[in-house]
């Protein structure tokens, strides 16, 4: 119990609960089933991206190209499905999107591990290149009418209930289960596979990792390919949630995702971070953004608060560290 109290995750959970209570008191509709379901759904895309960012941060890198991977996967998939007027199972859409994501992830991984370049700079380059490629060579038009299978998927909800007050129907979207499965998969990889431990090792000490007999190239390939895979899934889910495919979408959301991950306890500089922390961090950021709306605060504040949260989340551990050193 004492050990639990000391963890970063515990603090994040406490802040999350406290914030929810405050918002709930000011605006009771926060705790309505409808809002809670909506909240969970808006966790999904940020959360799946964040799982990828988690791996990158633990390994001591930083990646900002994932939204571009997401948008490219999603838009090219949308284009393709539109052209062939696809009508089959939706799983194919997912497979195409995540394959594109994996391909782009492999490109990132190749550049990073072959030329041993800083991950930030490489991903800054590929962020622009991937999105630019689509805008130049594919198309710039928003697809507003998604194909039949995608539309059907976007309506797939369980626990549908009609709210007495407003008469609106609300349900829990199946995307949440996709998110949960991916979170479990990521947690399992990190804890129970050698490559997962390699990710932690790499973030702890790069040279020691090599000397221990890990292949750094393999670990890096795994990380960036996995990030690509997650971004591909997140992209197609986003498209389904907003019911369009916009090639200008998603890019710009990276700050939000990185802030959530850091808030969840992953350290810039590597070595630390957990899936549970990341889930909580994403939830906290989502609740924060959601509550600003419920509290009637202008949405411009979102950018400001997200930035501040990121700064506080990286400063607090540093302060603790300094205090420990001077003690």
């Amino acid at each position: 119990m004492q050990k639990l109290v000391k963890t970063h995750e515990f603090y994040v959970a406490v802040i999350l609960i406290a914030l929810s209570v405050i918002v709930g008191v000011v605006n009771p509709s926060f705790f309505s089933i409808g809002n809670l379901f909506a909240l969970l759904k808006s966790n999904v895309v940020t959360g799946i991206f964040a799982l990828g960012v988690l791996l990158v941060l633990i390994a001591g890198g930083i990646d900002i190209s994932f939204p571009a991977i997401g948008v490219v996967s999603m838009y090219m998939t949308g284009k393709f499905l539109e052209r062939i007027e696809y009508g089959g199972p939706v799983i194919l859409a997912f497979l195409i999107s995540l394959s594109i994501g994996i391909l782009l992830g492999v490109i990132n991984a190749s550049i990073i591990s072959t030329f041993k370049l800083p991950t930030l700079i490489v991903s800054l380059g590929t962020l622009s290149a991937y999105q630019g490629f689509v805008l130049t060579f594919v198309d710039t038009k928003i697809i507003n009418r998604l194909t039949e299978p995608m539309v059907n998927y976007s309506r797939m909800e369980i626990l549908r209930t009609t709210m007495e007050s407003s008469g609106q129907t609300t349900g829990l979207h199946v995307s949440i289960f996709v998110y949960l499965v991916l979170a479990l998969l990521t947690a399992w990889i990190l804890k129970y596979t050698m490559v997962g431990r390699g990710v932690y090792a790499l973030g702890g000490d790069r040279q020691a990792t090599e000397r221990a007999g890990f292949s750094i190239r393999k670990i890096e390939f795994f990380i960036y390919t996995y990030v690509g895979f997650l971004a591909g899934v997140a992209g197609i889910l986003h498209s389904a949630h907003v019911r369009n495919a916009n090639p200008f979408d998603l890019v710009g959301s990276e700050l939000n995702v990185i802030a959530a991950t850091v808030l969840g306890g992953a350290t810039i500089g590597g070595g630390r971070g957990t899936v549970v922390g990341t889930l909580l961090g994403v939830m906290l950021i989502t609740v924060m953004n959601n509550s600003l709306i419920l509290l009637g605060i202008p949405s411009y504040w979102q950018r400001f608060t997200t930035g501040m949260i990121l700064l506080i989340a990286v400063t607090v551990p540093k302060i603790n560290e300094m205090r420990r050193e001077s003690a």
Binding site: K191, Y192, T193, M194, V195, G196, R197, Y200, A201, G203, G204, D205, Q207, A208, T209, E210, R211, A212, G213, F214, G270, G271, R272
Partner: protein
């Protein structure tokens, strides 16, 4: 059966055209305690890395347990039972002791999944071999240096290591911990495990090893049974010249002390420290790790100001509340860890030197006068014989001894009159060590007051005319006459 664990012959290794190793051979048999000695830059580390498969030799053959390897990879060396304990231990600070211990054997067995119960059993097995108690669930980052080393050794012994290579294992250890380490090595021998001990500390080399290989400038300088060597002979082969062992002598003339410390204290760190340094004296302060000598040094330099007592320079009280105060008073401090505290590693040698005199070499419009800077830097590089092709080279490209000289040059350029050096020759090889000692004596002869803080007993004994032994934040002994290494070692033993 009596096959050599390692047999390397005629190894050549070049880095961008420069020879790091030239025709070097080495053979290690089961149960050997073999010492690899040589100055920094002599090729010791390169040779280890060749044996461990980290570097590929350009020429020469490598046999491990009788198998020839054309292209040795780290994982091959590990499978052949060759384990290297690097100076930085190669541990993962963010992982637990248990995982650090077991991770290598997990990799060696080509595991893809981690079974935590199995990992824990492996870890328990590992620490049982050297009969020590380590907290398995603590993160390695929270351990002391000696404990980290024990983790590294235990890890090396897992999965039937046949040869343990230790790269400068005693650098950060106290004398007591060194003794423990030697016991562990002797234990290993009785189990038939060979040790390759890399060091440039002569005393240790003679104490522990049975066979000796000495490298100089990437070539084999000498090899044979350790019993055929003595300190002088080893030094000669390491440096290629004779090194003097003349003691420092000083005849006091009762002049005003250049530095007087009266009852200096800092809560929880040291207390009641009183001593004088007259111009031309070299005063030694020694003590076990944690005796408070580093804190004292940092206080004199204003990093952690003292909270009681006073400091007098030339008989006049000075207040030292910050590093600026110390520099103004003419006090310079050469820190223990020059890499993190003393040098701008990525900056040029020149900049590292003239940083201390920036405000003295201004032009009329307050820009840095680079001509003066250049001349000053050139003069000091010459004066201290810093071996570098250019003052523009980054400080990190130099060897330990040369880096230490850069720090010295910086403070000498600032015309400091009181020089406090903490561990001035840690990680510095014999030849450079002698150069640095010679320089300190020259400075003393010019009237500089020198204070050396060190736990290298021979160094202190050879170079100081007065020695204080510090223990638990206080001076417990003062030695002025008849100082010799054995007396001081005894004093140390009594403190334990």
């Amino acid at each position: 059966m009596n096959e050599a664990i390692v047999q390397v012959t005629g190894i050549h290794k070049r880095f961008s055209g420069v020879y790091a190793l030239r025709d070097v051979s080495l053979e290690i048999n089961p149960g050997d305690i073999h010492c690899l000695a040589g100055e920094n830059g002599s090729g010791k580390s390169t040779l280890i890395k060749v044996i461990a498969g980290v570097y590929h030799a350009d020429e020469g053959s490598i046999h491990l347990n009788g198998t020839q390897y054309e292209h040795l990879r780290p994982i091959d060396a590990i499978r052949e039972g060759v384990q290297v304990i690097y100076q930085d231990f190669s541990l993962f600070p963010n992982l637990t002791v248990a995982e650090n211990l077991a991770i290598n054997s997990q990799l060696e067995q080509r595991k893809r999944l981690v079974k935590w119960s199995e990992l824990r059993a492996t870890a328990e097995d590992a620490i049982s071999r050297i009969k020590v108690d380590l907290p398995l669930d603590a993160t390695v980052g929270s351990l002391s240096v000696a404990d980290k080393q024990l983790v590294a050794i235990s890890r090396a012994l897992l999965h039937d290591a046949k040869l343990v290579i230790m790269d400068e294992p005693t650098t950060a250890l106290t004398q007591h911990e060194v003794k423990n380490l030697f016991d562990v090595i002797t234990d290993l021998k009785s189990e038939g495990i060979a040790t390759l001990f890399v060091s440039h500390k002569l005393r240790e080399v003679l104490d522990i090893s049975e066979k000796l290989t000495i490298l100089r400038n990437g070539r084999l300088a000498a090899e044979g049974d350790t019993s055929d060597f003595d300190e002088k002979k080893i030094t000669f082969h390491m440096t290629g010249r004779e090194v003097s062992e003349e003691r420092f002598a000083w005849s006091g003339d009762g002049a005003t002390p250049i530095l007087s410390v009266r009852n200096l204290g800092r809560r929880g760190e040291f207390d009641g420290i009183t001593f004088d340094v007259q111009p031309g004296e070299i005063v030694g302060i020694t003590g076990l790790l944690g005796s408070g000598r580093t804190s004292l040094g940092l206080s004199l330099f204003g990093v952690h100001p003292a909270d009681s007592g006073e400091v007098l320079v030339d008989g006049a009280p000075v207040s030292i509340r910050s590093i600026q105060d110390a520099i103004t008073a003419g006090i310079a401090y050469v820190p223990e860890d020059r890499l993190t505290e003393g040098l701008f590693l990525e900056q040029s040698i020149g900049r590292n030197i003239f940083v201390s005199i920036l405000d003295r070499i201004k032009t009329a419009i307050r820009f840095v006068d680079f001509d003066v800077a250049k001349r000053t830097v050139a003069a000091w590089i010459e004066n201290l014989k810093i071996a570098t092709p250019s003052a523009e080279a980054a400080a990190q490209t130099l060897s330990g001894g040369n880096q230490q000289r850069i720090v010295l040059a910086r403070w000498l350029a600032a015309e400091s009159r009181i020089l406090v050096l903490n561990g001035p020759t840690v990680g510095v090889d014999v030849g450079s060590k002698e150069e640095i000692h010679k320089k300190l004596r020259e400075l003393a002869a010019q009237g500089v007051g020198v204070v050396i803080m060190s736990d290298d007993i021979p160094e202190i004994v050879q170079n100081c005319n007065r020695i204080y032994v510090m223990h638990k934040g206080r001076f417990v002994r003062e030695l002025t006459e008849a100082i010799d290494t054995d007396t001081l070692v005894e004093q140390f033993e009594e403190l334990k």
